[in-house]
Amino acid sequence: MIFLVAGKANGEVLKLDEPLSFWGGVDPATGEITDLRHPQGGMSVKGKVLMMPFGRGSSSGSSVIAEGIRSGSGPAGIIMMEADEIITLGAIVADEIYGKAMPVTVVGKNEYEKYSTGDLVAISEDGITLS
């Protein structure tokens, strides 16, 4: 596991079938997935350990991530298979200005496939563990 943004998280996994653009895809005030074309549209990212293969869509996603971390309606942590700068930036800035560190991590395919929606996981400097 590689940290793009270091931090700790505990939460239930929400594994997305397709990448999600946070801007235009998530309401930062509630955490609801508002992209109706997305297979998980209508579900909430709030407090979840969000898994998606890679990032997608608008540059404004960074702002939506930062706003979600500020308001407490964002994910608890994010696990991907490939680095995504838009997501990473939102988390870096929330850490810088609010001191709230939401971990953003990259894992290999084998580890990515180990977790499914509903699993309770913890992210820490020791890695990702089922709890």
Partner: protein, 422 residues
């Protein structure tokens, strides 16, 4: 991995260039580490997407920089915001949200950014040259800069744009570097009739299909006519950056790093080959509409911001007709483009015909449009992609010719013959 910092980078981090540069450099270096960059590079211009209000965090961030004395070091343009400062009455949103949005806009102007308020900075007089390293945010501007101008920017999100503008530096990684600009996936346009390839409406549909099938790789499109216009490439790129995470594409014979398919792939083999067939194009077109009513309530054009050429075409299509009184007809564009189109005589007749021009913002990111229960028609795949989620409207995608005909009559008018092979 650690990033090798130049003397200047280190002096920023150490605070010798002031506290704002220190904070901005810290964000750049943290991103550089995440991107596995080994060093930073100079950038000559920036385009800021962070000026759109999404809630308190974005204003907190801008104030955090400004309070530390931040000023941009390189020419910096501003993307759309939530307000139309030229036509302020168009804003129908929450009053406090509007006040916060204006505070954010003012903050970026005070940091020295140019109040261009457009998502199409490549339509401004000064734009990056081939090979120039820049730090641009806004997904459609990124894909245009890389693909059409041959300038080099990574797929930047909000926040890093202003940090790069303050320091004039960005991570030397991603699309800044030669090796990351080669094609990955080959799209072969084949078996489509030439008449369709000569229609504007084909290009956003192709972009939608390409974006959906590119993963995070760089698509190479083969089989288009040579010298596809900038407006068509703009529509293609914006669509691909909405349906996928495309930061750059090559259109063989049109974009500057793809005079041949081999050049676009830098001599390597594609990881995947996808044939763009008439069936796939029609399926992609149909994915862009959520409704098929016989009446429409509104039309929205100009996502990304319409160019002078596109406004001229609209002027010609209206041909002295007027918008139906039951339809609201919006065109989003940049204030600079609107000024030029006005000087060329296209704007007043269109306004007299009932067209509402929106500047500095866009109809799908802020409450501008009057509430409609009937579907909204658009020629933009990006608008069609985002508006249903953002605004809760039904959308019908169509050619600009169809949008104008429908806007004049109020009845949905679609020329579906152009999509049929032969």
């Amino acid at each position: 991995m650690t990033v090798n910092l130049s003397e200047f980078d280190q002096s920023c981090l150490d605070g010798q260039e002031g506290p704002a540069a220190a904070s901005a450099m810290r964000v750049i270096v943290r991103l550089a580490e995440a991107m596995k960059a080994t060093e930073l590079l100079d950038v000559t211009s920036a385009h800021i997407d962070s000026c759109l209000y999404h809630g308190p965090a974005v204003l907190d961030f801008a104030k955090w920089l400004e309070d530390q004395g931040a000023k941009v070091k390189i020419p910096t343009t501003l993307n759309v915001s939530s307000l139309d400062l030229i036509h302020p009455d168009l804003y129908r949103g929450d009053e406090d949200w509007g006040i916060q949005a204006k505070l954010l806009m003012d903050c970026y102007e005070r940091m020295g950014c140019k109040p261009t308020w457009t998502c199409a900075p490549y339509q401004l007089e000064e734009r990056p040259k081939f090979g120039e390293q820049v730090a641009w945010a806004e997904s459609n501007a990124i894909v245009f800069a890389n693909s059409v101008l041959g300038a080099r920017t990574h797929r930047y999100g909000d926040f890093i744009d202003i940090c790069a503008a303050i320091c004039g530096r960005a991570p030397a990684a991603g699309l800044h570097l030669d090796e990351n600009r080669k094609g990955d996936i080959l799209f072969r346009v084949d078996g489509l009739n030439d008449a369709l390839l000569d229609r504007d409406v084909f290009y956003p549909v192709l972009g939608h299909l390409v974006g959906k099938n590119s993963g995070n790789g760089i698509p190479v499109i083969q089989g288009l006519p040579d010298g596809v216009s900038e407006d068509r490439l703009k529509a293609l790129g914006a669509a691909a950056a909405s349906s996928g995470s495309v930061g750059m594409f090559h259109a063989v014979g049109s974009t500057p790093e793809a005079s041949t398919t081999e050049e676009a792939f830098l001599g390597t083999d594609p990881t995947d080959v996808i044939d763009v067939t008439p069936e796939k194009i029609i399926a992609a077109r149909d994915q862009l509409s959520t409704a098929s009513d016989s009446r429409i309530g509104a039309v929205s054009l100009g996502t990304p911001h319409y160019s002078v050429q596109e406004i001229k075409k609209l002027f010609e299509l209206f041909d002295s007709e007027s918008v139906n009184p039951e339809v609201n007809f919006y065109v989003s564009t940049g204030r600079d483009v609107l000024t030029e189109a006005s000087l060329r005589g296209f704007v007043k007749p269109l306004e007299d015909a009932g067209v509402i021009f929106v500047t500095d913002t866009c109809t799908y990111i802020t409450p501008i449009m009057e509430a409609v229960t009937l579907p909204v028609m658009t020629d933009s795949a990006k608008w069609a992609y985002y508006a249903p989620g953002n605004l809760g409207v039904e959308v019908i995608f169509g050619a600009v010719e169809d949008c104008v005909a429908s806007g004049i009559s109020g009845d949905l008018s679609v020329d579906s013959k152009i999509w049929v092979d032969g």
